[in-house]
Symmetry: C2
Subunit: 291 residues, 2 copies
């Protein structure tokens, strides 16, 4: 199976899990379930679930043990996008080429859809806690990395420094590490926690590097990409006066940094015993992505 086929196999497996979850979402009023489903099924590449399943395969951890963690992570990722797109946050009217949640359901409902997605993620994770101590640890890891010492901290810093023109490298790194890298790190570390924790620090570094790479390529794409391929507005960062790696280092230096980062990621995967081909290709895919 080549990379694209394997990617489709992983995301297809996950999409079944997600669709089943959405089918069973019977909460009332209807608009609540509908708005949650809308953002969950808006498409998206399912990067975090795919990553989690792929690391599971590398380490020999069965995907049945991981599917609910992947689901919870995607719920958390989706809630963060719904809240991030809100008018008083990033104010983005489009997500994945379609109107963002608050454009369809209104701001109030979008706030609640996000709250609902976040709360439901923890409903999934707390149920997993019945399966043993390593499941509690994995849930705890996701919660910490999604929370105020993780992703939410990154979003808060992002909002705080939006448009202030003070491009400090330290702040940039804080935002990228927390807002972007932490959830990706959770995706790759959870299979290791469930599998016995033999590669914890390697995979933590891998997640952090991959997150930085992802953010670097995001910044590059905001300059070079098009609305058609991204499904969201481009050139927004510059207009909004946002911190980006491109404004700090310049476009070419960013590409070099991305190359170095990708190489570090590949080296970590090569250092783990097992079939790392898909993950290496995943790194290359993130480096070269057009959307």
């Amino acid at each position: 199976m080549d990379f694209n086929e394997k990617f489709t196999e992983y995301s297809g497996y996950f999409n079944k899990v997600l669709t089943e979850f959405c089918d069973n979402l019977t909460c009332k009023p209807q608009i609540l379930a509908e708005s949650m489903r809308y953002s969950l099924l808006l498409g998206g590449k399912r990067l975090r679930p795919v990553l989690m399943l792929a690391v599971g395969d590398l380490l020999g951890v069965d995907r049945d043990k991981l599917k609910n963690f992947a689901l919870a992570l995607e719920l958390i990722h989706t809630y963060s996008l719904v809240h991030d797109d809100l008018p008083e946050m990033d104010n983005d009217d489009f997500r994945r080429g379609k109107p963002s949640n608050h454009k369809v359901f209104g701001t109030g409902n979008a706030v609640l859809a996000g709250d609902g997605l976040l709360n439901t993620a923890y409903s999934v994770l707390i149920k997993e806690c019945r399966n043993g101590a390593e499941y509690v640890s994995a849930s705890e890891f996701i919660c910490d990395y999604a929370g105020v010492y993780g992703m939410i901290g990154g979003q808060s810093a992002d909002l705080l420094h939006e448009g202030d023109g003070n491009y400090s490298e330290e702040t940039l790194n804080f935002i990228y590490e927390n807002k972007t890298a932490k959830l990706l790190t959770a995706a790759v570390v959870v299979p290791d926690i469930i599998g016995g924790g033999k590669h914890f620090s390697q995979l933590k570094t891998f997640g952090s590097d991959l997150g930085y790479l992802f953010q670097l390529t995001d910044d590059i794409l905001d300059v070079e990409g098009s609305f058609a391929s991204l499904g969201k507005s481009t050139g927004k960062d510059e207009k909004a006066g946002k911190y980006t790696a491109v404004s700090l280092y310049g476009l070419e230096a960013c590409k070099l940094r991305a190359d170095v980062c990708a190489e570090r990621c590949r080296t970590i995967v090569e250092g783990i015993n097992g079939d790392g081909e898909f993950l290496i290709n995943f790194v290359n895919y993130v480096r070269n992505r057009k959307n």
Copy 2:
């Protein structure tokens, strides 16, 4: 100890737990920790923690076993107020006589403060899951009752029907049960789950009735109360065309309903072996509250 002294003892104990939590909140950027602390320490009667500790005493469950559940519940309650006060939700500029979170920190930060409070509640609850199966069950109960089949569902219905003038009793009951009663029910059921679950269905009914009572008296106070004693705007419900029990049944019928509801609550407490005096006085306090 009379009711007020005992109430102060319970809330004082909880406030120490909460203050310690706030002191240890070191997340960055500062505005994130600050905005979370602002709403947590805005005052508030700590009804849910007090209730939980009191039911714990009735059932002989040590407060050390309950304090983190009480903390998580107060975090959840507080996040719900922060998001509920947002301009596109209830749009309330005041909470407990002080500017609401978004008036002080801005809407974007208030969204994130709420997200942070919610996520941190689950950080507390997942840690509790290490203590055994009944702790997982208690965490699950809180999560379910706070979530899309509970409080969030109630908030969504509240938002949906705001100002539509269609006062159906069924919708009103759905909103009151979910938006208000579910978290109060979680407060009284958790000690029972930790203590062996002997009074589960009685306490569930107690929570539901107490929540309805609380909501009835809230509606009565919105008509009869003053800004000075409530610390929030009054007469808002009518202006906003909101569903309330007063508009559905009329003021006097509401008071009668509240009396019946309070009587049902007292009867349940009397049916449980132990010293229920404080809880009976608690019911009377809710019935007769001026704020």
